[in-house]
């Protein structure tokens, strides 16, 4: 052996600081799954505060206005409806997220669901007991099939789902917009909208609440259903396995291609049902652009990301984005802070979550080189 016989004694591997007991406890604490979402929210709130200060305003007043506006007892009915829509779109994002796929086409699926519901409600003249369920099913079928297209595109043609959903979405939006403006529009109306649906085609209300209706109960039921599927069924288990390690899934016999079709169809169907519920609720019309302007899709996506796709966490993370969305408007009124700030906060949350992915891949980068 031609290697030097002696090595300097300080070449012995030193215990890294990571092995110190305090560092280990801190390490475990830092690795808790709740830390990152919570950290993202805190960072977003701090950055938002800096922006408010930079604009010469008082962040405490602004945030107080956000909270009090969102939780104002008089508007809780409205706040709940926003929460349910965000939950619905979060669910649409979470289903594929469970298997590691991103559905960025929620907007297209949402408007297609709205379109299907408007056609059933406005054209079919079904009796009250049938009209709403048929509209919801039609919305789920149309938007679900549209969402499902992305799965074979990924397995047969290697087009990532994240890309195809994003690119297919504007096609659906443009189609619906065209139909509302030129084919289904109310004659003589200055706004591009369908006629108001007949009473029997409107979403069933609950008591005399003006925003909260049976549609929102449907969304809550869908969330419970997904929670059950995710934790208690073979399909849900396969989704999670593929999300954790795709090769492990295929080796274990999971038919990943079929699973992707199912997940994308379910995702699109949920988005479509949300669209249908919005259209069937007050003002009971399909209005061009009205499904997209509240930004439920991306608030939902952010809530799903923040929850890591876990069905049990989505209702909680959706609260955050509901507060931002509803409270943002009242912040503008009472604290004179533009509501766009709530969009900024949503953006910051997403960036912080994305940073985590980057940092994790950097960390494992050394491992990849091994």
């Amino acid at each position: 052996m031609s290697a030097p016989a002696e090595l300097p004694t300080d070449q012995a591997p030193r215990p890294s600081w990571r092995e110190h007991p305090v560092a280990r406890v801190a390490g475990i604490a830092v690795r808790h799954p709740a830390v990152i979402p919570l950290g993202a929210v805190i960072v977003a709130v701090l950055i938002g505060g800096v922006i408010i200060v930079a604009a010469g305003l008082d962040p405490i007043t602004a945030y107080a206005a956000v909270i009090s506006g969102a939780l104002d007892p008089d508007s809780l009915d409205y706040t709940f409806s926003v929460w349910a829509f965000i939950c619905g779109m979060a669910l649409a994002a979470a289903i594929p997220l469970r298997m590691g796929e991103f559905n960025l086409g929620g907007n297209g699926q949402l408007v297609l669901g709205g379109l299907a519901a408007a056609l059933v409600a406005g054209q079919l003249d079904l009796p009250a007991i049938l009209s709403v369920p048929v509209a919801l099913i039609a919305a789920a079928v149309l938007a679900g099939s549209f969402g499902a297209i992305s799965a074979p595109l990924a397995t047969k043609f290697n087009i990532p789902i994240i890309i195809s959903t994003l690119l297919l979405s504007p096609i659906a939006i443009a189609l619906v917009s065209y139909l509302v403006r030129f084919q289904l529009g109310e004659e003589g109306s200055a706004v591009a909208q369908t006629e108001r649906f007949p009473d029997e085609a409107q979403m069933w209300s609950i008591g005399n609440l003006s925003y909260t209706n049976v549609g929102l109960v449907v969304i809550v039921l869908l969330m419970i259903a997904f929670w059950l599927v995710d934790s208690r069924t073979a399909v849900g288990f396969e989704l999670r396995v593929v999300g954790a390690n795709r090769r492990f899934g295929s080796y274990g016999g999971v038919r990943v291609g079929r699973l992707a079709i199912g997940a994308m169809a379910a995702s699109g169907a949920v988005a479509g049902i949300v669209g249908a519920i919005i259209v069937l609720s007050s003002p009971y019309r399909l209005i061009d652009g009205a499904l997209l302007s509240p930004g439920y899709t991306f608030a939902g996506l952010a809530a799903a990301l923040l929850a890591g796709g876990r069905p049990a966490l989505i209702p909680v993370t959706a609260i955050l984005f509901t507060v931002l969305q509803v409270g943002g408007a009242s912040m503008e009124r009472s604290a004179d802070v533009p509501r766009q700030l709530s969009d900024v906060l949503q953006g910051v949350v997403i960036i912080v979550l994305a940073l985590r992915t980057v940092i994790e891949s950097r960390r494992s980068g050394g491992k990849g080189a091994a």
């Binding site: 052996m1 031609s2 290697a3 030097p4 090595l7 070449q11 012995a12 591997p13 030193r14 934790s231 208690r232 069924t233 073979a234 399909v235 849900g236 288990f237 396969e238 999670r240 396995v241 954790a244 390690n245 090769r247 492990f248 899934g249 295929s250 080796y251 274990g252 016999g253 999971v254 038919r255 050394g366 491992k367 080189a369 091994a370």
Partner: protein, 523 residues
Amino acid sequence: MTNALPAGAADVELVGISKRFNAVVANDGVDLVLRSGTVHAVMGENGAGKSTLMSILFGLVSAESGQILVGGKPVTFSSPLDAIAAGLGMVHQHFRLFDSMTVAANVVYGAEPRRFGLIDTRAAEARVRELGARYGLEINPRAIVASLSVGERQRVEILKALHRDATILILDEPTAVLTPGEVTSLFTVIRRAADTGTTVVLVTHKINEVLSVSDEVTVLRDGRVTGRFATSEATSADLVQAMTGREVLSVSNPGTGSAGDTVLTVDAIDVIEDRTARVKNVSFTVRAGEIVGIAGVSGNGQHEVVEAILGTRSVDAGSVELLGADVTALTVRDRRARGVAVIPEDRRGEGTAITMSIAENLTLGHHRSAPVGASRGIRKGWISLRASRQRARQLIGDYDVRTSGEQQSVGSLSGGNAQKVVIARELSHGAPLLIAEQPTQGVDVGAIESIHGRLLDYRADGGAVLLVSHEITELLALADRILVMLSGEIVAEFSRADATTAKIGAAMAGASAATDTTTGASA
């Protein structure tokens, strides 16, 4: 097994390099001496630590301890740029080229000749021609990389390093993607470079390449140096032994009992990937109550054969029959349902989901049948979490998995315990065919014994076992028959009675098993 090398000027020296990735020791006190103007082969099987060592030398990864000396002076490389500045160049296994740009643009990238502040394309092209002529790497500098063959792209990579005046050229598994003709011309280039004073480091696990082109060899195994040779004094048997090692095994196949019906028939399968045939015309059978071993240095097509049997990879020709039925067209799920269980080679990448719990890892594949799931009736498609946990606790006890509980993540287990989870899951299928691929890789001695015992029990209970291993001693202890794979083909078959380490080693290294082994191993 460690021979002294002749003294000479050391151009680059690595001294006592150690590196761990979490619990995995990739390099453990590795010393490597590279002398100017020589071709130095760094050998070892997958996971032996070759790539980590080269990444450390090239500044991609930092060592935990140890030193790099260039020309006798200690250096610290915090990035590949430092390494390049010190005269190193590396050709990675996966090329790092801009496909849509020309050869010349790729070669000079990062160190472009400039004229009036702009890239001087003509000078770049002249440089490519000049380097090409000097090293025998002729290539059209204006060709677009996307239009080049794999061999030509590799030339571009080598030219890239030479353009930066690399005097130490690291080639990581350079022949993996080449045709035999391209390999020959690459070796000519390597020799020419060495003769002009360049130090070439050839990272490989192919014995014949080492013997035909290198001057010196350092063999790694499990992160340690297990052999140093001057190539002229080394035999293929020496290299095989240093790469695969040998351990004293206490359990062995009694050789009793007779094999029953044929369970697996592999008939003339071919697997082609990246225009290279990974598996060529492989045929064999495995019968009930029999352990058939496949020997071979890793990367000779054994893994592809396993994938073709399980169905995670489709075959380009031939067929796979299970219990008399052709399953070539079936999915993994259907094949598993008919009775294949696999302990895969890549435990973290394929055999487990490290972020999921032990219970969940044990459940995959069992989630549609009792007791966790149900294959028919009202509970079909549902999973009982309680049954899943209960079954996990049972298996943890049976297979002696050392863990704090069934909810612990598999990623936090030691290699041996994670392997026990995989084995528990696969053995509990009770499948007629069990494929065990490197079942004791990265597992401590105690666990090795228990795993070997399990495989023998499987055989005794009438199971058919296909055992893929690089460990000759493991195969000798367990297998009833041993097939040897080399370059995608079965090159030899031995019965239990005939098999010896020397014969198998010679066949693994490419010597004809039927003829005198001393003639073998020249490429």
